[in-house]
Symmetry: C2
Amino acid sequence: MEMNIALLPGDGIGPEVIEQAVKVVKAVGKKFGHTITFKEAIVGAAAIDATGNPYPDETHEVCLQADAVLFGAIGDPKYDNDPKAKVRPEQGLLAMRKKLGLFSNVRPTFTFPSLIHKSPLKKERIEGTDLVFLRELTGGIYFGEPRGRNEQGTKAFDTNVYTKEEITRLARMGFEFAQKRRKLLTCVDKANVLATSRLWRETVQELEPEYPDVKVEYEFVDAVAMRLVQWPKAYDVLITENLFGDILTDEASVISGSMGLMPSASLGTDVKLFEPIHGSYPQAAGKDIANPLATVLSAAMMFEYAFDLKDEAQAITDVVNRSLAEGVVTEDIAEESKPSKTSEVGDWLAEQIL
Amino acid sequence: MEMNIALLPGDGIGPEVIEQAVKVVKAVGKKFGHTITFKEAIVGAAAIDATGNPYPDETHEVCLQADAVLFGAIGDPKYDNDPKAKVRPEQGLLAMRKKLGLFSNVRPTFTFPSLIHKSPLKKERIEGTDLVFLRELTGGIYFGEPRGRNEQGTKAFDTNVYTKEEITRLARMGFEFAQKRRKLLTCVDKANVLATSRLWRETVQELEPEYPDVKVEYEFVDAVAMRLVQWPKAYDVLITENLFGDILTDEASVISGSMGLMPSASLGTDVKLFEPIHGSYPQAAGKDIANPLATVLSAAMMFEYAFDLKDEAQAITDVVNRSLAEGVVTEDIAEESKPSKTSEVGDWLAEQIL
Ligand SMILES: CC(C)[C@H](C(=O)O)[C@@H](O)C(=O)O
Ligand SMILES: CC(C)[C@H](C(=O)O)[C@@H](O)C(=O)O
C-alpha cells in the first residue's frame, strides 16, 4: 500500500517522540511491504516563532494532502503565564482540529500487565480496564462565540454551544464503537445544569431506538469523575463534549499508571490524526529521556484506523509490550532495568519489528 | 450562645441524615450550654411537589433569619431523564446559593486512618492528604446568560461569565485560607483555551504581591484532574470556578475512601450553609441505611465557620473518629462489625458527646 504521512512534531518533546514513531513506522513498512512517504510541517510555538501563525496555511496543505497525520505535542510555558499573549501555540492545535474536521477524539484507556503496579490505583480496581472515550473535539466552549472581554476588561465570557448535528455524528460513532465492543454506551453530561447538556441527552435518547443492541447510560460529569477512579471497569464507551472530555480523559490516563503510554486518534470527515495524549513536557525537551511509547502506540492506531491494517497495528503493540516486559524503557517507567534513552527505545522497537 | 439554625432536609436521604445531625447538634448545645433553636423548611423536589417552586420564598425567609443553614441533599431521578422538564429540583439549590450570596464552597479532603484501606488509591499515595477546595459557587456557566435553545430547538448554548470582582473575593478567601495552612495556593483554570480562565489567572496574579507569604501555582484543570489522583499530597488550597470545582471536588472525594464522609461549607456575605457533598441517593431513601457522617461533620464545620466555636467542632470530629474506630457505622463502610442503622449511628454519636 502507498501511504503519505504528514509529520507535525510540534513543541517540547514532540520532535523526539515523533522521530521514534517514524523509525517504527518505517520498519513496519519494510516488513509488510508498504511504500511510506513522510512530509514534515511546523505547528505550535515552533510555528509562531517561524511565521507568527501557530497553524500556517502550508502546514494545513501538508495535512490535507496526507492520508494520515502523526502529531507530537504542543505548548510552551512562555505563553502559559502571560494571559495577554496575543497568539498562543494551543490556537494552532485548535485551528488544526477545526480545519481538518476532526470532530472525534478517540482515547482508549487500558492497563499493561507489566505496569499495573505503577498505577496509583489498587490493582484489583483497575485490572482488566478497557474503556474508550469519544471526546467531541471541534465544538463546545473551545470554539463558541461570543468569547472575550468587555471594554474595560473587567468581565470575561465564553460560550458553550452545540448543535444537534454535532452531537448526532459523535453519538453515532459512539453507538458504533459500542456495537463492536461490550455494547455499553455512557453519555456524560451535566444535564441538571446546562442547556447544552440537555440537548446532548435528548439527542442521544432519540438515537437509542436505532441501536437496540446497545445499552445506554446517562451520567453527570461529576459522578463520572468519581466513578472513573472508583471502578473504571464499569465503563465501555463514553461520549462527551469537548471540555468534559479534556478533563476526564486526562484523569483516566492515570489508571494505566503512565501518561507516557496513552495514544489517541482524532477522526472526522477526511484526514485522520494520531497523537500521544501527553503534552509537550518542556522540562524534558532535548534530553533524549522522554517516553516515546504513547506516540509509537498512536502510530499503531494509525495503521488500524487510517489504513485498516490490523496486523501492522498488532505488530507495533506486540513490540511495545515486549519492550515493557524486557525493561527497554525510558527512565519514567524503568525499574530494575537501566533506563534507555528515547532514541534507544525507538531503535530497539524498530529492530524488533524487522 | 444563642443559635438559630435553619434545617433544609431536601430530597432522598436528606431528611434522614439531617435528623442525625440535629441529634448531635442538640447534644453539643446541651454539653456546652448553648441555646439552639431549629426551624425547618422545604427545598428541592419536595418543594416542587408542595408548591411548584424548588426554593419557595418562605424557605428563603427562614434561611435569611437563621444564623446558619444545615442542608441535606437535593435531586430526584424522575427529573433527570426528562430533558424537557420545566422545573427541576437543582434549580432550587442554585437559586438558594445565589440568593444567599454563597459564593464560596469550601470542600476539605482528608483521610481517616481507620478507613484509608477503603480508598481505591494506594495508601502511600494518600496518607496524610490534607487539601481544601474553594469552589466559586454563584457564578460561571451555572448562571451565565444567555442560555437556552434557538427557536427550532436544534442548537443549545450556555454562557460562562466571570467578573474580576467575583474572582477577587473568592481568590482573597483562598489566599487567607492558605495563610492559615501550608501557604500554597493553586489556581485551577483552562487559561490556554478560555477567556474566563485568563481573567482568573490575571486577577490572581495581580493579588499575589499582597500575600507575599503564599506561594501560588497555576495549573490547567486537565492536569489537576490527573495529579489529584496521582499525588494529592502536593496540594494545599485550590481555588477554581464553579464547574471545574464541581467536577474536581467530587473526584477528590474518592481519596478519602467514602463520599459518605465528606462535609462542606458554603460561605458568602451573610448566612452560611453546611451540607454533605454526597447527593440525595434516592435508592437508599427511607431505609435507615444512609451514612449520616458527612452531614454530622458538616455540623462540625458549622460550629467552626458560623460560630467560631472550635471546641464544639472538635467534639463532633472526635466522636465521629470514635465511631469509625469502634465500627459504629452504616453498611457502606462497616466491615468486621455489624452495620448500624442511620438512626443508631446518630443516637450513638449524641450519647457519646454528652
Ligand atoms: C493543549 C490544550 C489546548 C489541549 C486541549 O485542551 O484540548 C490538550 O489539553 C488536549 O487535551 O489535547
Ligand atoms: C446537584 C447539582 C446541581 C450540584 C452542582 O452541580 O453544583 C451538585 O453536583 C453539587 O456539587 O452540589
